[in-house]
């Protein structure tokens, strides 16, 4: 049975800045990382491999350099890594993205001659933040969807059912569903493993399969920019008053404290 983890390579958003003139993300020189939630999805797929004998496959859609994210997956122990990359996939919104990923998942099952048991996605990405791709994949594949999972309680391979805990605001929900399922995961689910050096080195030389649209054979109008009904009209960072350093710190603690109190009083943030 296959456990497929969808991982997205994202810019390290703490380091992303928005170009105030063009209103676009300044991506130059920004390091890419694996979307943090996706490392937990990946880890869970590896645990399914270790505990239940799943075959763990890592899947991503992105530009050729997204291969780095898949190498990381391989270094952690994924059995296979597939990158869907084609010029015509570019500019995709969540709909187009899930079209490609769903097709790829079907294709993985076909090639492996095996069935997909669980698709794992992150709760959301840190760059797009929509949390739509996972559910999008599930509906395209006709899988049950269990979002915001913070614990897999039981996995009965004979009855082919899974019981999970969902982390919702202020409460937890225990749900059970028959396989196959798509789950999206939160960070509390697990602690991703740290790759050993031999695994890292093996991953450097391992092959990441790259599938373009000649492999997936999707209608070009359902992928990429053409298949994306969402348009980003503007990106901007909201104006915010920058903090400032007042006083002379340790050289004048009392004076600094007095300044701070004055300032807080003047902003009505402190009542006397």
């Amino acid at each position: 049975m296959l456990a497929i983890a969808c991982i997205k390579q994202v810019p390290d958003t703490t380091q992303v800045q928005i170009d105030p003139v063009t209103n676009t993300l300044v991506r130059e020189g920004i390091p890419f990382i694996v979307n943090p939630y996706d490392t937990h999805a990946l880890e869970e797929s590896l645990r399914l491999k270790d505990r239940h004998g799943f075959r763990a496959v890592a899947l991503s859609m992105g530009p050729p350099n997204a291969e780095a994210a898949l190498r990381k997956a391989l270094s952690m122990g994924a059995d296979d890594a597939i990158l869907c990359s084609d010029r015509c996939f570019g500019g995709a919104d969540t709909l187009a993205t899930s079209n490609v990923l769903a097709a790829a998942i079907a294709r993985i099952a076909e090639e492996a001659g095996d069935e997909v048991g669980i698709v794992l996605c992150g709760k959301q990405t840190i760059d797009g933040d929509t949390a739509q791709v996972g559910p999008g994949i599930a509906s395209r594949l006709g899988f049950r969807q269990l979002t915001l999972v913070d614990k897999i309680l039981t996995l009965d391979m004979e009855k082919r059912t899974i019981r999970v805990s969902r982390k919702l605001e202020g409460r937890h929900e225990i749900v059970e569903a028959p396989l196959p399922v798509m789950i999206t995961v939160v960070r509390e689910l697990n602690r991703p493993r740290y790759p050993t050096v031999p695994m890292r080195l093996a991953a450097v030389n391992a092959s990441v399969k790259v599938w373009n649209n000649e492999v997936l054979k999707l209608d070009v109008n359902s992928v990429g920019l053409k298949g994306s009904p969402t348009w980003v009209s503007r990106i901007f960072s909201p104006e915010r008053d920058k903090g400032e350093i007042i006083g002379y710190g340790v050289n004048d603690p009392e004076g600094t404290a007095a300044l701070l109190i004055d300032r807080l009083l003047s902003k009505d943030l402190l009542a006397v």
């Binding site: 380091q15 390091p31 740290y194 050993t196 050096v197 080195l201 340790v250």
Partner: protein, 659 residues
């Protein structure tokens, strides 16, 4: 006396067989070149082995010094004794002219007496006033072995006095040159018994004990008599915290999993340990109730090697694990992670044993091969890898401290020094104040300096000490490439960890930087008059200076910060009881800064308590980690009236205009 010959040959055979066995075990270690720079090695060997430099540094060391030199001198006497036994009629007096013979026997006589006195003291030390560090979990100071060896030596001395006494009485030896033996002669004569019988008794007592000693020596901890001298010769001549690089290639293994992953020098170390317990006494982890005891680590290697010898020689997997559950030949993971890499153990060891590489080697195995490490390190590792700083703060914020001053980028040719700010100096709010002060000092003194700004990366110190050599290697390569590209040659650091890493570790990457710690530079600037103070600082009260391990023990910078304090305040700083080479770690080194400390009392509290005993108003440090550890410790002790200042902040006080 012909029966002596076969007995001697048997003893010699056992001795050679046992030594050969140990040697073959040492040869199971990995290769390592410790033959470079023989002249320096010879000098160090003379100093540490024959000069007993470290031995005598502690009370009772002089006792050992006497025993050691008595041993060397009496080697000749015992050589002559053996020849007497082997060659009927042989006498040293017959082959040496009296002008040589007389001083020689005089020396033998006196030295034997001194040695006997030293042995009596050693007995007393173990029996009557035993220091606690003489015992460890698996070695008892009052063991049968310890007393057996002491008894052997004492008996040898007594027997030789008896024998010489008989010879003096019989007119064979010159009474004038053997004052102690003459007393023995008088006693024997008084006893009225047959001198010939006494002579035979003492001869055979001496012979028996000597032969037993020869057999027993290579099987006991007194093996150090044989190994200590070469161990001092083969000592590490480089920086004590700098471990060898690893070669990363498919199929390689990393770090130390089993005892034969260590080098032959590590294994020689294990047979050299004298179980003196000095490292144990100096170790901050041991002192605060952690499971780590550096002496036990060394001991574990020996026990492990001996236990696994048959298996290892047969190429089979070892039976006793080197890393695993508590046991005499095994180190627990908790033990391995407890080390602060402070180097106190190396500093204390009289026979130059290197504990650190063994611990770091085992850490490397755990991190690189097994991915096993305390949970809290995962964040550190990821942060380092992704954002090149321990906190995972966006690299873009590295220059935030420059917001209120004009700081220039480093440009080769235009700026003399690179100020390598370091992660703490860039991101930690307390350390940023130090950075700002240092920058002001540099400007005031007209130093030409610049920074790498957002391009600066972490030096990788914590990673290396924690055994994450793979990521350290990557970071070191990146940094070295960046320094080369920018033409950096002279670097100022305010963190002893950056200091040691850039100065010592990066040398392994082929870059020789002139790295100067800010305390040294400020000392220079003050001494040459480039930095002028506006006033003498009095308001910091009584200042006590804490030696950071990575500045002091690891790099021998002790005087510069003290001189700076003296210049600025007009008085030398107060000293801890454990200061300079004997300084006690703050608890943050070796990556411990980023780890929980749950067992025993915290190391920083131990050090803060020690500081408070001296009633200082200000604790002066020269390291951002020490700063954090002291400030945390003072908070825990609710000793808010005592403050912590970096050396740069002390100087900055002196630059403030006269009130």
């Amino acid at each position: 006396m012909t029966i002596f010959t076969p007995l001697f040959l048997i003893a010699l055979g056992i001795f050679i067989w046992q030594c050969g066995k140990k040697l073959s075990l040492i040869r199971l270690g990995r290769p390592e070149n410790r033959f470079d720079n023989p002249a320096l090695r010879l000098r160090e060997m003379l100093l540490y082995a024959f000069g007993q430099k470290r031995v005598v540094a502690r009370p009772f060391g002089i006792n050992h010094f006497v025993i050691f030199w008595a041993f060397i001198v009496l080697l000749a006497a015992n050589g002559a004794f053996i020849l007497e036994g082997l060659i009927p009629g042989f006498r040293l007096a017959n082959v040496l002219p009296p002008s040589l013979y007389h001083p020689l026997v005089f020396a033998f006589d006196i030295v034997s007496f001194l040695a006997l006195g030293a042995i009596v003291l050693s007995f007393a030390r173990r029996l009557l006033f035993k220091p606690p560090y003489l015992d460890s979990a698996y070695v008892n100071a009052r063991s049968f072995e310890a007393f057996l060896i002491l008894s052997f030596i004492a008996l040898l001395m007594l027997a030789s006095f008896g024998l010489n006494g008989v010879k003096i009485s019989l007119g064979i030896e010159p009474a004038d040159f053997m004052p102690v033996s003459t007393v023995a002669a008088a006693l024997l004569e008084k006893s009225g018994s047959d001198l010939e019988t006494w002579g035979a008794f003492f001869w055979w007592l001496h012979a028996g004990v000597l032969l037993a000693f020869i057999c027993f020596l290579p099987m006991s901890k007194h093996m150090h008599i044989l190994t200590a001298i070469p161990n001092c010769f083969f000592q590490n001549l480089g920086s004590i915290s700098t471990q060898p690089r690893e070669e990363f290639a498919v199929g390689n293994r990393y770090g130390v999993e089993k005892v034969t992953d260590l080098t032959w020098k590590d294994l020689l170390d294990s047979f050299t340990c004298t179980e003196c317990g000095r490292c144990q006494d100096a170790c901050p982890a041991n002192a605060t109730g952690k499971s780590l005891n550096p002496r036990q680590v060394v001991h574990s290697l020996k026990v492990n090697l001996l236990a696994n010898a048959p298996a290892l020689k047969a190429g089979e997997p070892p039976r006793v694990p080197l890393i695993g559950a508590e046991g005499e030949g095994t180190n627990t993971e908790e033990t391995i992670w407890a080390c602060t890499t402070c180097g106190a153990c190396l500093q204390a060891c009289p026979v130059m044993i290197e504990h650190l590489p063994k611990l770091v080697g085992m850490r490397r195995h755990l991190v690189e091969m097994e991915s096993k490490f305390p949970e809290e390190l995962l964040n550190l590792f990821e942060n380092m890898e992704q954002r090149s700083n321990p906190w995972g703060i966006a690299p873009g914020e590295r220059t935030k401290w420059t917001a209120q001053m004009d700081v220039k980028p480093f440009e080769a040719g235009k700026t003399e020094y690179l100020l390598y700010v370091g992660c703490a100096g860039s991101f930690d709010s307390r350390s940023k104040q130090v950075t700002v002060n240092l920058a002001a000092i540099l400007d005031a003194a007209g130093v030409s300096w610049g920074i790498l700004g957002k391009d600066e990366k972490c030096c990788g110190d914590s990673l290396r000490r924690l055994g994450n050599e793979y990521i350290f290697d990557r970071m070191a390569k990146e940094n070295v490439a960046l320094f080369r590209e920018r033409g950096v040659t002279k670097v100022i650091t305010m963190c002893p960890h950056c200091f040691t890493t850039l100065r010592n570790d990066y040398r392994q990457y082929g870059i020789e930087l002139e790295v100067i710690h800010h305390s040294e530079l400020i000392k220079e600037l003050l001494a040459t008059g480039r930095l002028k103070l506006n006033r003498q600082v009095g308001e910091l009260g009584k200042i006590i200076f804490h030696d950071s391990c990575y500045l002091g023990r690891h790099n021998d910078v002790y005087d510069a910060p003290r001189q700076v304090v003296a210049t600025v305040t007009g008085a030398a700083p107060a000293e801890f009881d454990r200061a300079r080479e004997g300084s006690f770690c703050c608890g943050a080194g070796g990556g411990r800064m980023w780890m929980e400390e749950l067992t025993g009392i915290r190391i920083n509290l131990n050090r803060v308590t020690e500081a408070l005993e001296k009633r200082p108003d200000t604790i002066c440090v020269a390291c951002p980690y020490c700063m954090t550890m002291f400030e945390d410790g003072l908070k825990d002790k609710q000793a808010g009236q005592t403050r912590v200042r970096d050396i740069a902040e002390v100087v900055a006080e002196g630059m403030r205009p006269q009130a």
